[in-house]
């Protein structure tokens, strides 16, 4: 098995391309099927770590405080996300409860922690080869990406909110705003592709003169 340098294959139609030097915020598209080949994300790179840490703070607030409050004749009923998952489980829907738990609580947390770990790991450590956990969290981020559904959950809260206004007085909780912020932060953080850590690593090595002349 040998590495082919300087070439890249389209992930959707397998056409082979020579790697391009992309300018700031440039995107290279496949000329055959139109899929994205590469995207320059240097501008974003510096912001990912602080955004992930902000996301983690929002995540905690979003999960501790109630999302919606219901007022019926002086009685209050409020629901946190984990409380709702719990009542779904108690109603005999353990699988659906687990799905909601995974897509809105567990996976976003894994994503944020994995990103923080990837980016906060000292460069000195990275240079001496990637530890197994490093590769694992990089892959975890990509595999879990479609299964993190905070923004869809947010839309669900809005739909439930409107549905409930016809029954009783509904008040938005603190967690609702935190969920909004978390959805926004996760979206911006997810546009970062963990692949770029590897690419950066390669350019570091090349600078150090490790580059093989012509492969």
């Amino acid at each position: 098995m040998r590495e082919v340098s300087g070439l890249i294959a389209c992930e959707e139609c397998d056409a082979v391309y020579r790697k391009l030097a992309l300018g700031p915020s440039e995107v290279a598209l496949c000329g055959r099927c139109g899929a994205e080949l590469e995207r320059d994300r240097h501008a974003l790179r510096r912001h990912v770590l602080p955004l992930s840490i902000a996301g983690l703070c929002m995540y905690i607030i979003a999960n501790v405080f109630p999302i919606l409050q219901l007022e019926v004749r002086g009685d209050f009923s409020q629901a946190t996300l984990i409380g709702s998952v719990h009542s779904l489980n108690a109603e005999g829907m353990p699988l659906v409860a687990f799905l909601v738990l995974a897509t809105t609580i567990l996976f976003p947390l894994f994503q944020l922690l994995a990103l923080i770990y990837l980016l906060a790991l000292p460069i000195r450590l990275r240079r001496s080869g990637y530890p197994a956990a490093f590769n694992l969290s990089g892959r975890l981020i990509q595999i879990l990406r479609p299964w993190v559904m905070v923004e869809i959950f947010l839309l669900g809260v809005i739909v439930a909110f409107v549905k409930l206004t016809s029954m009783a007085t509904v008040l938005p909780g603190i967690a609702l705003w935190a969920f909004g912020a978390l959805a926004f932060l996760l979206t911006s953080v997810f546009s970062f592709d963990p692949r770029h850590i590897y690419i950066r690593q390669i350019s570091l090595q090349e600078k150090k003169g490790k580059k093989h002349a012509g492969k």
């Binding site: 082919v4 294959a9 056409a15 082979v16 391309y17 709702s84 829907m93 559904m149 439930a160």
Partner: protein, 241 residues
């Protein structure tokens, strides 16, 4: 971040190094034809990949096509079709008010409720997310699989676009699952109303998860394999060796 983003459409490398294969018409050099496998994680290209080889850079498993893509996608799709029936006929939510009749809601009755109560924007959002998207997704993946089976060369670009679209929108069908979760969590007030989740929501969640798994296990490169001169058998996973 600069405000303007440049999009460059690039043309495939016609003459890759160390291979003087000619390019004719529609045919371009593909990694599979050159005996290369692209790492699904870090996009590094590798030559001479043997079965069960791992990417030397990030450790992901390497294969020329997603393993057993056609069969896996078909299996997930059939399972999704089966679950689609109870998802749309069984109630997803059962509301029991303190006074009055028990009310059973299916996916469509939720949409009709919003429409009648005047919030037609929400009616449209829920209708698209819960009804149009799953149906469209099932139809598109079926079409893609049939086209691969028939080795069709028609509408390749359109099919590539459809696949990309379906892969992005599929997750939004989870909307109704979250709505039912919140309603169950919130409306548990004895002496006012109690909301129970119905069996339909479990079936509906299964449809969403199964169609997502189908689109993840589908390998769009199989569509383009028919443009190759030596087709081989695109339905099987072709681990290099």
């Amino acid at each position: 971040m600069p405000a303007n983003r440049t999009v460059r459409t690039v043309q495939p490398a016609s003459q890759p190094p160390e291979s003087g294969l000619p390019i004719s018409g529609f045919s371009v050099q593909t990694a599979a034809k050159l005996g290369m496998a692209s790492c699904p994680h870090c996009a590094t290209l590798w030559e001479d990949v043997k079965a069960h080889d791992r990417c030397g850079r990030c450790g992901s498993g390497l294969s020329i096509r997603k393993p057993d893509s056609f069969n896996r996608t078909t299996a997930f799709l059939i399972a999704a079709y089966i679950m689609y029936v109870p998802a749309n006929t069984l109630p997803v939510m059962i509301t029991i008010p303190f006074l009055g009749k028990e009310q059973q809601d299916t996916i469509m009755s939720g949409v009709i409720y919003f429409w009648n109560s005047g919030s037609w924007v929400l009616a449209l959002i829920v209708f698209i997310a819960s009804f149009v998207v799953p149906l469209f997704k099932l139809a598109v993946i079926t079409l893609l699989l049939i086209a691969i089976q028939r080795r069709s060369r028609q509408g390749l670009l359109l099919r590539a676009k459809l696949y990309r679209f379906v892969a992005v929108i599929g997750r939004w069908s989870m909307l109704d699952v979250f709505v039912v979760t919140l309603m169950t969590g919130l409306v548990q007030i004895k002496g006012f109303a109690v909301v129970h989740p119905g069996a339909g929501i479990a079936a509906f969640a299964a449809v969403v998860v199964l169609t997502m798994l189908a689109s993840i296990s589908f390998d769009p490169r199989l569509m383009w394999d028919v443009t190759e001169h030596e087709p081989g058998n695109p339905h099987e996973s072709r681990r290099g060796g």
